[in-house]
């Protein structure tokens, strides 16, 4: 430590003082200025061996005569690494080190900043009389606060630590939290249960991640001598498997024909007419129905009206906000969380990582509505709320959260609003308004009519009473169709009718919102981490696009785990570990020695992991072969075709449009400020493969397309004579096959051929694993800074 020179202003160091640790610099600033209007910012110059590492900023405040020095942790300062060396698995020994010491690609400037911050905290925290944790109140915040103190001071520091527990940065809330922290109440203590649960999550995620990723990579290396970065994780594995499973359903899907009678009404050509039976499975009966109604008009038999009350929605929690943001604005869950966090830091809304659908009991709705009503665009609604509600009693939902209320606006307006933040803020405010509303009433109409005894119907609906919908912005819009005025006994003239053949479709691909829902339904991950886990799988290039599809390498990783250690991707194990987390949390909080501890949880976790790793090790050969094959296939489909013929600088690449999902060939410089906009259209179906041969007619690059009767060569040039001719041929063939399509000829011999050919072989299971190949001793894990006894 001698090597550092830490230059702290004298007035900051004068004793006694409390050392406060905040999560981020922006939060430190907001907290300091909220607690003390005269808060003072200061600088600490940290020098190492003569060079300045970084100038660390801090805040000095005085509150009730208590001097508090606040520094921020920049998110995480520490990370887990292997304790020991060697690229092998299993590894069960780990330790915390400063992020700057972990070997990774972080840049030097960032590392210097981390190192300087750590030294500044070490210096100031060790001379402090007591401590105050000011991070966001959740598992992660508890870990950041408590870990920083135990790592840089000692375990005893937690005995002198108080905790500011707040759900928003609004002035009143922060000041109340401070009073609570000053009191003897448990509400002002650090939540050790949460802290230990957070540690458990870090330890297990690290153990899972490093061991399973190494199992994947080493199997490839030992099989082929090649190296390729591969990874999976405790929650990533099961999440990717949902998408991969759905994709396999789609890729192996065979559509089945079905039939529908389509009718166009003369007076109302835009109304959708439905046959009572919906789709008809067989051509024969469909044709019978069709021929019986052809050229005839309808007669209205009955009009059925139904009124239905729709009660106001519950306030938002994170998952319902993410779901609506995607639904109304196509904002991805991770972007929604980011926007909500910015609004929270701006003190405009309460803490977003919550599962609660309930307002805090002491919430001052009058005050908040009045303040929000000051903003143009909300004024009229607020006025309306005040006139229609004598008492301000909002609707609440059933879900709760141990640490926070629902997401709601505060009495502080956001300082500036644009882009996603604006849309998210408006959703939250409108939802808040809606919870004060009365039931909406919707009338649905069904008009039943017959055409020659065949039953058809029209379906429509209209809003009779708007109720809460009038106050809820985009959430109140209904896309329901209103039917024209019709009477029983009236004739409906038909202008055209048609028998339509359509095909069944596979289940839809996941999008980010439906995948998040799936994770939630299966209790995978936590509300706070789900969207980030999806994003991390996308960043690893195992999934992409929206709707999401799995890349070839993502498919392989999933298949390897599914075949050789299905527990890794099982939802059940993930759930069991969450339950273990519950026990750890309760055990600490209920202050009993006999209960499941953090170390018990880690040992249990390692036992599970050990079994999975043994399975993988004994199948290393097959795994390596599968991965090697997957990588070779992926390379064949490699996206880059050749240097761009227009700019001669970028590369021509197969690109899938994020918005339409369509693929085309484009220049990579398009993504560099649209410097080159060269594109070529592509057929949307069939697998594409690179070829070396150039087109004989015009020298343009060619792609091989798999998906016709035979693979064919596609010249990129849309005006190529060869390409034109080929496409014409396809068209002709299609027309011919359509003529043959309903194939009404007797052709029994062909069917016989089919039957002899189609005898499937039973599937065989992968070879039995030899678990005894692996010998591992579970060493006592070093869990530094983990549990402190509760006395």
């Amino acid at each position: 430590m001698e090597q550092y020179l830490i230059d702290v202003p004298k007035y900051v160091q004068s004793k006694p003082y409390t050392f406060g640790i905040a999560e981020k610099p922006s939060a430190a600033k907001r907290l300091a200025q909220t607690l003390d209007v005269k808060a003072k910012e200061f600088s600490i110059k940290v020098t190492k061996k003569g060079t300045v590492l970084h100038i660390v900023k801090g805040w000095l405040i005085t509150k009730n005569k208590e001097r508090i020095v606040i520094l921020s942790a920049l998110g995480h300062l520490f990370t887990l690494v292997q304790d020991g060396s060697g690229w092998q698995y299993p590894v069960y020994d780990f330790k915390w080190v400063p992020i700057s010491q972990a070997s990774n690609k972080l840049d030097q400037k960032f590392n210097n900043r981390i190192e300087a911050t750590i030294e500044a905290i070490r210096q100031l925290a060790n001379s402090a009389e007591k401590y105050l944790v000011l991070t966001d109140y959740d598992e992660e915040g508890e870990v950041i606060g408590a870990l920083t103190l135990t790592q840089l001071v000692n375990n005893d520091a937690l005995n002198q630590t108080r905790r500011l527990k707040f759900s928003s940065f609004a002035k009143k809330e922060i000041n109340n939290a401070y009073d609570m922290a000053r009191s003897k109440s448990t509400a002002g203590e650090i939540n050790l249960g949460m802290y230990n649960r957070g540690l458990m999550r870090h330890y297990l995620d690290w153990l899972w991640g490093i061991n399973l990723s190494r199992a994947l990579m080493l199997s490839l290396k030992n099989y082929s001598g090649r190296y390729h970065t591969l990874s999976t994780g405790r929650v990533q594995g099961p999440t990717l498997s949902f998408v991969a499973k759905r994709q396999l359903e789609i890729d192996t899907y065979v559509p089945i024909p079905r039939f529908k009678i389509q009718i166009i009404l003369k007076k109302y050509p835009d109304l959708a007419v439905n046959h009572k039976k919906g789709f008809i499975d067989q051509l024969n009966p469909a044709e019978k129905v069709y021929s019986s109604i052809k050229g005839k008009d309808g007669l209205i038999e009955e009009i059925v009206k139904n009124k239905r009350k729709i009660s106001p929605p519950a306030p938002y929690n994170l998952s319902s906000l993410q779901s609506d943001a995607y639904r109304y604005h196509k904002i991805t869950p991770s972007n929604t969380l980011r926007a909500a966090e910015a609004l929270y830091l701006d003190a405009a809304i309460s803490y977003p990582r919550t599962s609660s659908e309930q307002y805090p009991p002491d919430m001052d709705h009058l005050e908040i509505l009045t303040k929000i009503g000051g903003r143009a665009g909300f004024k009229t609604i607020v006025k309306d709320i005040f006139t229609k509600n004598k008492k301000l009693v909002p609707k609440i939902g059933k879900k709760t959260d141990p640490a926070h209320p629902c997401i709601h606006p505060t009495d502080q307006l956001p300082t500036k609003l644009s882009g996603y933040n604006k849309k998210i803020y408006e959703l939250i405010v409108h939802r808040y308004f809606a919870t004060f509303g009365k039931d909406a009433v919707q009338e649905s109409n069904r008009v039943n009519f017959t055409i020659d005894k065949e039953e058809f119907y029209l379906q429509g609906s209209r809003l009779v009473t708007k109720g809460w919908r009038a106050w809820s912005g985009v959430q109140g819009n209904t896309a329901k169709t209103e039917l024209p005025k019709l009477k029983e006994g009236q004739t409906l003239a038909v202008s055209a009718s048609e028998l339509i053949k359509s095909f069944t479709q596979p289940a839809p691909q996941y999008n980010q919102s439906s995948l998040l829902k799936e994770m939630e339904n299966n209790e995978l991950g936590t509300k706070a981490t789900r969207s980030e886990i999806i994003q991390s799988i996308i960043n690893r290039k195992y999934m992409q696009g929206d709707p999401i599809h799995v890349t070839p390498i993502g498919m392989i990783v999933n298949e390897v785990l599914e075949n050789y250690s299905p527990q890794v991707i099982s939802v059940e194990l993930s759930r069991e570990l969450e339950r273990m987390g519950d026990l750890v949390e309760q055990g600490i909080n209920e202050n009993s020695d006999s209960i499941f501890s953090l170390s018990d949880a880690i040992v249990q976790g390692i036992l599970h992991l050990h079994r999975m790793l043994a399975d993988l090790k004994s199948n290393e050969q097959q795994m390596g072969s599968l991965i090697d094959h997957g990588l070779r296939t992926q390379r064949k489909q490699e996206l880059i075709i050749e240097t761009c013929n227009v700019c001669n600088e970028g590369n021509l690449k197969i690109i899938r449009s994020q918005s339409t999902g369509k693929r085309f060939v484009g220049c990579t410089l398009y993504f560099d400020n649209q410097r080159c906009t060269n594109t070529f259209p592509l057929p949307q179906r069939g697998r594409l493969e690179k070829t070396k041969d150039k087109c004989k007619a015009d020298g343009f690059p060619q792609l091989r397309v798999h998906g016709g009767k035979k693979p064919w060569l596609l010249c990129l040039n849309p005006e190529c004579p060869i390409r034109e001719e080929y496409l014409k041929n396809i068209e002709n063939r299609k027309k011919e096959s359509k003529k043959k399509a309903p194939a009404l000829k007797k052709d029994g011999s062909e069917i016989k051929i089919k039957k002899t050919r189609l005898k499937g072989k039973p599937k065989k299971k992968p070879s039995v694993s030899k678990k005894d190949q692996l010998e591992i001793k579970i060493k006592k894990t070093k869990l530094k800074g983990k549990v402190r006894s509760n006395k």
């Binding site: 396999l248 789609i250 890729d251 192996t252 899907y253 065979v254 559509p255 089945i256 024909p257 079905r258 039939f259 499975d281 067989q282 051509l283 024969n284 053949k501 359509s502 095909f503 479709q505 596979p506 097959q622 072969s625 599968l626 094959h629 296939t633 064949k636 179906r685 069939g686 697998r687 493969e689 798999h706 998906g707 016709g708 009767k709 035979k710 396809i730 063939r733 299609k734 096959s737 359509k738 043959k740 399509a741 309903p742 194939a743 009404l744 000829k745 007797k746 052709d747 062909e750 069917i751 051929i753 089919k754 050919r757 189609l758 499937g760 072989k761 599937k763 065989k764």
Partner: protein, 81 residues
């Protein structure tokens, strides 16, 4: 160990097809019965496969198309024998 018989697949398998192509093959096999049920038993195996491959309204999965092409080539080869 054999290789999957589908062109360009090359996956190791102890059967004729790799697992995914086997799944597709089973879907195509049972699909034929459903197509015949829908359209009538006059529908030939060959015509069924052609529609799976070439009709744009039929959104056959990519792996199922591989198998349909494989099966169709067998039928065509037989005809020229």
């Amino acid at each position: 160990m054999n290789k999957c018989e589908i062109k360009n697949c090359e996956r190791d398998t102890e059967d004729k097809f790799c697992t995914h192509h086997q799944m597709s093959w089973e879907a195509i096999n049972s699909g034929f019965e459903e197509w015949q049920n829908a359209l009538g038993t006059d529908l030939t195996w060959e015509n069924y496969l052609i529609q799976l491959i070439e009709d744009d309204a039929v959104k056959t999965g990519d792996l199922a198309i591989d198998v349909a092409i494989f099966e169709l080539e067998k039928v065509s080869d037989k005809k020229f024998d």
